[in-house]
Symmetry: D2
């Protein structure tokens, strides 16, 4: 039987979310987000983040990121982000599209994270007035594309630079649940209390069918977000079916419980691989992803044993970097089996 | 109890589609449309249209239209459409966004339809070379925003103009099912056999949660559609849940059966209102929408009786234009009740 | 010898402007508008308009309009303008390009002018919230494409609607000089005192090589205009050669003197054609353009006599509409000759 | 008296070009490039490049680059270029604007040049199908931002990669004259014979008022360039005044003669600085720019002696990088004086 470690989106939706969708299907409702479920979302997210927020459901993370960034960056803006971030390399120039031509400035940084010095250095190239794009935003991923997590202090430090330069701070939270589950802090502490202005809050990867939310912590920043969402085709006519996924996702801490399960499996995998000869964990495992450098032939062997995963970089000098992603629905025995295979 | 005639999207999804979604949720699958359900869609739509087609599921009609039009029109293109068409007035300049600035040329026409002479007249203003936008596409809605339907001959005539001018022909088929149910012809006859190049094939209004498909009849036209879809955030990571809705929608003619029910209810409403004093049917009822001009006080009376609907234009001289939309899920007694109230 | 009534841009630059260009060529200067001539422009335009203004030279009227409109309209904005305005039909969807997809709403109106009722009527279609583009600006041409001129009251009335709806008021002044020369009022009275927010101030058609200026009357509106100008390739590296044309154009009222000459020639042509059998002046002659409806064969006869002009619309029922544009450099005898030919 | 080494655009236009402009001002002409001077340009450039070419004058280098790149790259395209190239850092995201959101991929490379290995490495990140932007073009500057020049073999090697990957090859030739003057080859050998598809041919920096040309060597690539130019406001109404600058620039090898003078002055400056203690020439001097690393206090001393120039990077560890640009109009004694000051 196939064992799937390609991505958390290889798994479907939580039974609870399916049930919620079914329940929401029993009545008529006003379209385009004028329904009662969507109306309740503001309060739900407000409770979660311990303050008034503006919440806008959309279908995908690429849309959440693109729309959020287009709202905080003008078309002639510069957006500073990690060179391997999803917005930079996996969204087919989506932020450029949504913003009408903003420039993503790729920054280097260990473990998928950017830090203040590299942002400061990059900013020195953006002092030329109108000759350069106008610094508009810093965008970081939480958790990162490498399965690592920013602490509140790291975010606050980046936020301080952003504030000083008149930039906004965006967080791509496609795996925000995994980050919060890892950190010993509240959602508020790791977002607006640390200076985050807008968050792409993901649910799809952690057990929804398709549901993300753009969360603005500062009403000033919202501006005409809704116009942008509409014209990009991300205002669902039957919005309630997006909203109900998000509502259920938050209820009873389902989102956190599922993220904890996934993180736990990833840690189990990490422990299983630690110290194995020839296998090198490339990054701390702080979310639900494990990156392991292995001898190239091992990749082939795993595949022939029915395990799916991605090789994350082109092989080099006989070694290759594998990415294993676990979902809360990944069977524990799949993890065990994977460890076994890599040990042998 | 509330009676809802505001829109077909006030109703939820068909039980069959909910069941299909549930079934698709039981296994892992490759993301981003690499799954087996999505792979089957090409064949399903090919069978439906009796030829090879390229099919791309997206989340909304606005996205389907915008992406289709951006594929067939350059940023400096002119797209000819009815002045009241959805793309012109209800998508917040979505086609302009997706295309990077194409110009929608609004045309007049009875019953929501455009005809060859008005297109020809408009074209006379686009003979100035680079001073005008470049004629790129004709876009019509089938069924139209006024609940009317183009016959194959009407489409063929428009297609001939398009062909002659090097333009493509797009059909916004948000209510394509209602149009086919009304016409005595096959899906092929009313599309590519009549010269349609690309179709926004709607399912959401007729019983899906959220699922539309862009169907290209000419592979030459597809170009890099998939890049556009991706960067606009309309490539679902869990694509199978979009695709399975479309697949089930087509199976056993569910789409047509449902459209026939809706059309039948609309015709019943039409018959019920025909000849009532003071009530004027504004358009032939050929799909699932009924537009009735009524004395302004009647609108208020209906509302206070618990009936929801839209007033489609600003009231004028004591009269107002009401739009009633029926879904296949609209209870028959709601229609009866509405007729009763309007009679009395 | 050829007589050219095709456009005012068929003629070259004023000798005074050529001389100014030559003089400016004698020294080095800071590039990109950091030079002294450009620095003086603010004061020059401030004097002209009797208030502090922000002035930005650009190369063409299409750029001036597009950049101005992009500054006052978001990408999802609606811009209300005459259906025959230059921005709507002669700039190849330039405003759509510069703004990133704003929608130009074409309005009808006699003699190339829009009036309050037609704007109000159009606005009724823009009350649907995010489903429609967001009303952002009214744009009018002064003088219009039909050679007519708005009085201060007409502009003030449009401005009042704009103000009430949160829209800005833009004036395409490609022939602003001709309009001011015609009106008995100051540049201030016909612009910001009547509620104009931003003006495309033209010089090219009235005797410059290539020089237009975007003039903002409200510093709040300027925002990041300079970023937009730069990225669109309209920040001249040798800006002084643009600025010096504008400076000389204003000095000693050269701009007005030249416009008066042109207007005078147009009026002479008007008087010469008035009452001629078979010839119908289509519009009041208030600037430097004369539109005359004539029997179709007359067009051919004029052409064969060496006169160039445009037929402004497709001929209909044996008659055609000719446009004659005069420049301040048009020889008087050309006008006389044209009148003679049309009389005979 | 001030000595200006800030940029070649600090100097004005050649007397010959001023004279040509004056001569072209004596008659009427058809607007928008329908004039005879513009008509001749194709032949002039065809002679220069020894083949049929398509030539389009525009006002600025930013426009030339942006329009050229938008023609060869779709909005979802990736354009590979040096991280310090003008298009990447000095055009305020102009290519992103003109193209509607293409992504510039910044590459490293010595002396402002990119080479095949770094392009190949970058391409490995663009194998993900629609998840990445689509490789569309390589763009290099000739001469580079660091005053160096690509040889035909270097360009041919990059062209080969471009060809293999279905990409086009663009050259930003703002200082193309200086490059050709340096190389021992014909314009043809260093462009289309080496695989260049489209060239931004600069004249402004080398003695025009404002005139650049986009030159397509392959008619297939031209597509709808003219629509793009028009809507971006770069179709001059009095085009003849752009064209005549270009025509005169080419006549009697004026362009090359002037470039040779400038290059000669730069080489003189290079020789003067070579071997001076504490002064380090950062790059080979192959065009009209000299980059010298100097002790930070020297910059201040030069400034107080009336010399203008740019510090090209933020000072570091007591040293700073100065850029000196010479024009063909830079007085020889200015160069001598500069050398003297740096020696002492």
């Amino acid at each position: 039987m196939a064992m799937n470690f390609t991505s958390d989106n290889a798994y479907g939706a939580a039974p609870e979310i399916l049930a919620a969708l079914r329940d929401a299907n029993s009545a008529t409702a006003a379209p385009y987000g004028e329904d009662e479920i969507t109306a309740r979302l503001g309060q739900r997210f407000g409770d979660l983040f311990e303050r008034d927020v503006a919440v806008f459901p959309v279908f995908t993370g690429t849309a959440a990121n693109g729309l959020a960034l287009a709202t905080i960056s003008p078309p002639y803006g510069a957006i500073f982000c990690h060179e391997q971030s999803h917005i930079a390399v996996d969204e087919c120039a989506g932020p450029e599209f949504f913003s009408g031509g903003a420039k993503l400035v790729p920054l280097r940084g260990q473990h998928g994270k950017i830090a203040v010095p590299v942002v400061e250095e990059a900013l020195t190239h953006y002092r030329g007035g109108v000759h350069s794009a106008k610094p508009a935003a810093i965008s970081l991923a939480q958790a990162t594309e490498r399965g690592t997590v920013y602490g509140p202090d790291e975010i606050a430090a980046l936020s301080e630079v952003a504030r000083r330069e008149g930039m906004a701070l965006h967080v791509d939270g496609a795996r925000f649940a995994n980050a919060v589950a890892y950190l010993d802090c509240t959602p508020a502490e790791i977002t607006w209390k640390a200076g985050v202005d807008v968050l792409s809050f993901g649910a799809t990867k952690n057990g929804a069918f398709c549901a993300e939310a753009v969360v603005f912590f500062d009403p000033e920043r919202v501006r005409d977000f809704e116009y942008r969402r509409k014209r990009a085709g991300h205002l669902a006519s039957k919005m309630r079916f997006l909203s109900v996924q998000l509502e259920r996702y938050l209820r009873d801490d389902l989102w956190l419980k599922q993220a904890r399960v996934a993180n736990g499996l990833a840690q189990r995998l990490e422990r299983g691989l630690a110290g194995l000869p020839g296998i090198e964990l490339a990054h701390p495992v702080e979310a639900n992803e494990v990156f392991a450098g292995v001898p190239a032939p091992l990749a082939e062997k795993l595949r022939s044993s029915g395990i799916s995963f991605y090789e994350w970089e082109a092989p080099r000098k006989g070694r290759t970097l594998l990415r294993f992603v676990v979902s809360c629905f990944t069977p524990e025995e799949d993890v065990s089996r994977l460890i076994c295979l890599m040990r042998s």
